[in-house]
Symmetry: C2
Subunit: 410 residues, 2 copies
């Protein structure tokens, strides 16, 4: 008799964005003429940069001719993309990252989800609360947690509360942990970790021989000079951290799919006997065995953003969304709401008025202002009392949404 992986049964049935879609559809059924503005799911709305369009057209043409056709490429990605990433995001910033430490993939979601596979099941996982659900869900599926408790927490997981008091920086774990997920700029709170905070995490990981899984998918949205773009800006981080980066929000690749992961050679984890093994080799084995490379055409589109022209185009793209973020942040603040984020990230994290539960606020906002956002409780129990809005809408809708907020009876 074939047995299922019973860890899957620990996961709660309804996924956050499925529940949102269900409620929006129910609302629209009763109110078919309602003009609903969606600032919920973090998907981009502007077209791809022109450099990527041109590069992909060229790559498609290459695939049409025998002499330039490309079959299987290196699973780790083509050199032209790896070297472009390396130069733009590391070497030119004085950070050492070797070419064979960069693994191109079909996106950060896959990498953040798959990375746990190279770790043993006995590791203690530390996860910020609230946070992007994929880190936790994939560890539940792998069997690194116990059951879901009545408090909304899985047994065996070290949750790191992120509260307004600490600027939504995850608190340090109380006991020992082995795998630490950090996300900066943060989804959903829109806040970032400072150099000092990252230094404390790297020091913790070095002391505890823990590994930091650093999701930096929104690095391109950092506007303030003193905020680290990469964890490798912190001394000693190469010995304790894996970094995830994405083209999704950087260059509008949410439906085009490209990301990459950096695993430095110095980064070790251990056998039960205490022997050190480098994680880069393990990730390389995983990547080459369970993945067959990102499409050549897509890699060409991604590499194009590292040209001078490309950099100007993504600066404009990011600037457009960050202007939306400013409009939302300032508009909501002037409407009397308390907002976080939106300065170095495309997310605004809004405190619900009068401590209203976040799903109640979702319902209120949908029915009274016809705006869809994301209830903070969907990202973890510490997200209760908060609400996420994204800056990825178009300008007109963003402005209209802010007007509706101002007219909302709080």
């Amino acid at each position: 008799m074939a047995f299922i992986n019973e860890n899957y049964l620990k996961l709660p049935g309804s996924y956050l964005f499925a529940e949102i879609a269900r409620r929006v559809n129910a609302f629209k059924e009763v109110n078919p003429s309602a003009d609903v503005i969606r600032l919920g799911i973090g998907d981009v709305t502007l077209p791809l940069p022109q450099v990527s369009i041109e590069a992909m057209h060229k790559a498609v043409d290459e695939m049409a001719v025998k002499e330039t056709f490309r079959g299987y490429g290196p699973e780790q990605g083509y050199d032209f993309l790896i070297e472009a990433i390396r130069e733009a995001n590391y070497t030119s910033r004085g950070l050492k990252v070797d070419s064979d430490e960069i693994f191109v993939s079909d996106g950060s979601k896959s990498d953040c989800a798959n990375i746990q596979e190279i770790f043993g099941l006995d590791n203690v996982v530390a996860i910020p609360d609230p946070v992007y659900p994929v880190y936790l869900d994939t560890n539940v599926m792998a069997g690194r947690t116990g059951e879901l408790g009545a408090d909304g927490h899985f047994a065996g997981v070290s949750y790191l509360p992120c509260t307004a008091e600490s600027g939504f920086a995850p608190s340090m774990p109380e006991g020992h942990v082995d795998m630490i997920y950090l996300c900066s700029p943060n989804n959903p709170t829109g806040t970032t970790l400072s150099r000092e905070q990252l230094e404390a995490w790297v020091a913790y990981a070095r002391k505890e021989k823990a590994v930091i899984l650093y999701d930096s998918a929104y690095a391109a949205y950092i506007t303030e000079d003193n905020v680290p773009r990469s964890i490798y800006e912190i001394e000693g981080a190469r010995e304790v951290a894996i970094e995830f980066r994405s083209f999704s929000k950087t260059a509008g690749f949410t439906g085009t799919r490209c990301g990459y992961t950096v695993v430095p050679k110095e980064l070790m984890a251990y056998t039960k006997n205490g022997e050190a093994r480098d994680l880069r080799s393990l990730w390389n084995r995983r990547h080459t065995t369970k993945f067959n490379g990102t499409p050549y055409i897509i890699q060409r589109g991604a590499a194009a953003i590292y040209t001078k022209e490309g950099q100007a185009q993504i600066k404009e793209l990011v600037g457009y969304y960050m202007e939306n973020a400013r409009i939302i942040r300032e508009g909501l603040t002037s409407a009397g709401l308390t907002c976080f984020g939106g300065v170095n990230a495309p997310y605004i994290w809004l405190q619900t008025p009068n401590n209203m539960p976040s799903w109640d606020f979702f319902n209120k906002l949908l029915s009274e202002a016809n705006i869809v956002g994301t209830p903070g409780a969907g990202f973890g129990s510490c997200g209760e009392g908060y609400f996420r809005l994204t800056a990825f809408g178009d300008r007109e809708n963003t402005l209209r949404a802010v007007e509706r907020f101002k007219n909302l009876k709080l």
Copy 2:
């Protein structure tokens, strides 16, 4: 202290194709002017079908304009592709497959590698010998096997010998097994399973409540009418089988990346308490949590092959390679060698002369005829004494390779 997944350490160090590359490079260093013909790795050489090229250009243009830009798509794939697959490969052949049973992915390698994640670790895995290495390696990495023994077999795995006596059909397992990998048309033997053989497997799986993982990536290469293209042609297969299909060899997508997996709703596996759970829901959870969809542009390219024009173009593409297969098969046979496969598959499985070990034959062929192939032993211990040649080369090289075989001193 972060622990590694120690199952990775069970895998042998050097991967088959890496070892081949090492030997070829060493040979070329000593013989820089040698004109080496590569019939080793199963990669295609002809360009993409024109319909896919045109569809991808159109899709790239859509991504350049806000009104037609596509962000996140459904993780399971766009309807336009799912419906095209369903009609062409199932409905029009009288086979029931529902739209929500088809999961589009970035290729069959990923799906064949990932599928085991939804199964418990206590299942007994049955794997043909010889076979495509990914099935076994991913089960080793997950911890579903013991250590590698001196006989080249992992403890706890049920190997299914495929020998010339049975036309390289895997023998039935001696005891009970839970997860059965089958590959037809087969890589590396180039042979196929008949209707009667598949019926026996489906009957076995139904009796044992086992699940068949049916890799049919080479289905487009079947030329004989009586060979099943899909396992769902067998009555009762919907209750016991998952099917994997690919655009890689069907339409030259090895570097373009698209495949799909079918998980019928009737297919159940069990909890330890014996409760039945449908695997489709588990795979859906895995697919939506650890994957974010195949690029829109690529899905458009894939869907184009299902137009009338597209079907004609892939027929021509496959026909070209199958003519190579005929040339190799007939040429080698007339040179006195014993060959299998090459009729319903792009692989020729050649018996080494005088029971020569397959790596010795590799060396002989490389040094005396400057031809690269793949030693059968690399696919499993029952592959010893055999050698794989692929029909994916171009015509001229294929003809030249056959001439060299004829002049080879056996």
